[in-house]
Each structure stands twice: as C-alpha cells, then as structure tokens.
Symmetry: C2
Subunit: 297 residues, 2 copies
C-alpha cells in the first residue's frame, strides 16, 4: 500500500493508486509513503512495514533519519529546477541592480562574468544554462555527481571549492544541507572573493554561516548577498525577519518562496514528479534521487 | 571643430580630435558638440555654427529642442542596450520573485510566458533575446522602426498597443519619451491586463501615468510594476523617493541606475560608441540614430 501524508487531487491519484486518507491500520501496513518531510516524521513510529519514502520536497534534511530503519529514501531533487533557477537569477539580478534598496546603489553588470555554481543537480544546471544563454557567463560547476556537464566550462568536486571561490563574480549555492555542507560558506572561505562579488543562496540557510556572512558584508560593502533561505530556530522554522543581515544595504532576501510556496502550478508539477518516481520504482525497481542516508546521520 | 561638454579620457580623444576644454570662442565656432543633454543646453545659445549634436545619453528628451536651429541631432540609442536589458530583467525577476519585499510574496514564474516589448531599439531587442534564450518567452515587439525582427515572434506598430496589451504576461516599456509616448501606459489601457501581469519601465518615467498606475496597482494586487525611471519634478530632476507608489507592496524600484550611473565600465563604453558615431559621420556623412526633431517640438 502507498499512502500520502496529504489529500491529493484526483489527477495525481490516476498515476498510481495512492491512499491519501489512511487509517491507523493503513499507516501501520504501508510500504511506501509520499509526502512532505515534517508530515512524514509524524507517521514514522507508526509505520511498521515501510520500504520506501518519497518526499515532495527537494531537500530531505527535515526528515528524522534517526527514526528511519530499513526504508530507502528518495528526494524530489530536480522537481523545482526551473522555478528555483529562475529565482536564483531573480536574486542575482535583484542584488546586482539593487532592486527595492530604497537607496541609489550602483548597478553591477552580469554579462561575461564568471558564475560559480555549487551543486550541479537540476537547479544548478538550469541556473548555469540561464547564465550561459542569456548573459554569456563562464560557468564553473562544483558537484559530487554531475547529471549533465554540458553547461559548464569547468567542472570539479565541491571539496575543491577553495580553489575556485576567488575566481568567481557570481556564486550560487544550490547545495543540499548535510554533514559536509553545513556552514560551508564561511568567512575564511569568502574573505578574499573578487570585488563586487554577488553571492546567492537557494539551497538551505545553514549552508551559510550567518554570523560570518554578517561580518563579511559589514567589512566588504562591495559584496552583495541574496538569499531565499533562512536559518532555522529552535522550533525548526525559518525566521525570515529576525536576521541581522536585513540591517545591511548589501543584503537582499525573499522568504523561501522559490519553490512551491503559494504557486499551485509549481506545487502540482512537483508532486506529479515525485509520484512518477514512485511509479518508476514500482515498475522496474529503479527510481531517481536516492538519498545516501549516512550523509544525514 | 568638435567640442565636448566634459573632459574626456585620452583614449576617447584618440578616436577623433575633440576639444574638451573649449574657450568661449571655440564654443562659438564649434560645428559638432558631444555631451549630455543638460550640459549641451547650457551652450546652445553660444554656439553660432552648430551642425551636429551627438548625445552621450540614449534619450534626448532633455535637449531644449526649441533652441536648436539648424543642427542635426544624433542620440546614443543602443549604447546602453546590454546593461539596460539586464536591468529590465532585474526588475522583471525582482518583481516576479518579490526581492526585498520584506513580506512573503508569491513567486511568479516567467518561463514560457508572453513578453510584450514596447520599443524595439537596442534595449528592446536585447530584452527579448534574453527572454527567449533564458526563459523561452513568446516575444511580441511593438516599434516604429525595427532594427532587427528576428528575436520577436510577432511584430507590429506601437499604435497597435491596445491589441496586444491584454495578451501579455510581462510588459517592458523601453520607449523614448516624445509627444506620442507621454502617458502611453495609463489606466484605460492597462485595466484589463492578464492576472499576475508584470509591468516594467526602463524608458522614461513620463511614458507611464503615475496617478493611473497608483490606481491600477491599488485595485489589482496581482499586478506588479517595477521601474528604474521616475517622474521629473519642476526642477527637471527625477524625485526617486517621493512617489506614492512606494507605499504599495506590488511596486518595485531602482533609482535610474540601469545605464551609466556609477558604473565606469558602462559609461566609458557608451561615450566611445557616441564618439565612433561622430567619426562615422565625419568619414562618410552617415551616422546612426538620427533624431526626428519634430517628435520633440
């Protein structure tokens, strides 16, 4: 039995049969669960028979991995590539041009600049493609596993970040949050970036060290930092407005709206992609975006 | 003799000989003047022998045409195409994604949307090219004279604007300001635009009716308007912060920084393009961007 943590529109249930109003017994017997990580967490202890977890979200860092025993976990990486890459460019250009600064900031140009993309999954690849096609950027991609290298002029591993960070005019962080990426963007790494460097985060807030970023932006007024993702507080929620970064004129933000927030077109498309991944798993045992659980323990 | 209203770097004076520190007598005898419109205005009465005016600016609406007698006028249209088209996309995406709104606005998608470009000079063409290459937009171009139609899926005259405005998801105003374009974007024209329409102005403030836009944005919270250009007050200067539009959460702005403001790379490149146009005029009597003076009288 496949269960969902939330009621689904009929057209999604036509793809594969999904029980979206499971009883306690259905939850106990379910072999596959689809849903948002925080909702899945609530059911983990009740699921006695779970073999597969498929998230609607691209990031799985909110899943309570310690309580997942045997199940394989599949993320929805790539499902938000187009809206989030658009959003990354909204933040790059918003920062470059000083949109809604309410003071007169110099406009930086982006054409022919060097774009460093951290994470070359769907979002990273689409971000690089937009840069190349629209603005003739020179694209450097750093990733653990490349789905497609063709949009990058240079590729390397994320571990080599320190070799590239000072070559970039624009840095886009599209990394998942896991043990190896937490606070990866910190003061020591970024202190000598190029003049007028633009840094954008569409991954997870905690991949950037918030205090370090405040220090960096305070010292280097030429650098501009824009983020869609914020730092989670004790209650596990992002607090959008409490960041001290808002007091700096070289900081720009949106409130975690790059993905499905409020945009039904994006949401439905993402849920469909997740369910088609489960369909593929059922058909021939193969599905995309399997998570390395050890990265999150 | 060619005179300039401002001192030029040596490398620009190597293109053609220009007197950039003219005496009163030099001004009286000058046949060609290059410079910014407001500076040119100050010298117009003193120039007794003027045959050619070449502006560094793309727009010439600040020139005091009533006091220009025999001289031909050439604008610097196209010289800012790349930075201003980038800026147009900064405003489109800034508004679409709600950059620096300080509240949680839904992110609109731009891919596969219909882009209506008003004015198909260099800026309009480059704006359409970015849309097509980066976001697969369907491009409608309206212009009096097309330099290049290849980036547009549909082309027509500006007079046909009312036939297209309700088909567009994104409207970019890159029009010059003259008798036929003043307040061309007004309430009656725009009241029935599509849901979630994004309107951007990188032309001149006065091509948009400010009061009408306030009324429209107040009534239609789904529409987002972003502008780099503001309305000039009695002193002839744009007052960036006095616009009541700032009180609306569906308004986004930058302070006329799309072009050369503060960006030396952009400024030098634009002045060089203006001077090369004069060089071409001197060589064979042909130069680009001749202004129809009657449009401004």
């Amino acid at each position: 039995m496949i269960i969902s943590t939330q009621e689904l529109p009929g057209k999604l249930k036509e793809i594969i049969p999904i029980n979206d109003k499971p009883s306690e017994k259905d939850i106990e017997e379910a072999e596959i669960i689809v849903g948002w990580p925080k909702q899945i967490n609530k059911l983990l202890d009740k699921c006695k028979n779970l073999k597969v977890i498929q998230t609607f979200s691209a990031g799985v860092d909110d899943l309570d991995f310690k309580r997942i025993k045997e199940a394989r976990v599949f993320s929805n990486a790539g499902a938000y590539s187009i809206p989030v890459a658009e959003h990354a460019w909204g933040l790059i250009l918003g920062a470059a041009k000083g949109v809604n600064s309410k003071e007169r900031l110099i406009a930086y140009q982006v054409c022919n600049k060097t774009l460093l993309v951290l994470g070359a999954g769907g979002i990273g690849i689409e971000t690089a493609r937009i840069g190349k096609n629209a603005f003739h950027t020179f694209n450097i991609g750093l990733s653990r596993s490349f789905k497609d290298k063709s949009v990058f002029d240079t590729v390397d591993s994320v571990e080599s970040l320190h070799n590239y960070v000072e070559k970039a005019d624009i840095i886009v962080d599209a990394l998942p949050l896991n043990n190896s990426t937490k606070n990866i963007l910190n003061y020591n790494l970024l202190r000598n970036v190029k003049n007028n460097c633009i840094i954008v985060n569409v991954g997870r807030g905690e991949t950037v060290d918030e205090e370090d970023m405040f220090k960096l932006l305070s010292q280097r007024s030429d650098i501009r930092f824009a983020t869609d993702v914020f730092w989670r507080k004790e209650d596990g929620k992002e607090d959008f407005l409490s960041s001290p970064l808002w007091s700096l004129k070289n900081f720009f933000g949106t409130f975690h709206t790059a993905g499905a927030y409020g945009n039904e077109e994006v949401m439905l498309r993402a849920m469909e992609i997740a369910i088609r991944n489960v369909q593929s798993f059922l058909r021939d045992g193969r599905a995309s975006n399997e998570v390395r659980v050890a990265d999150y323990l």
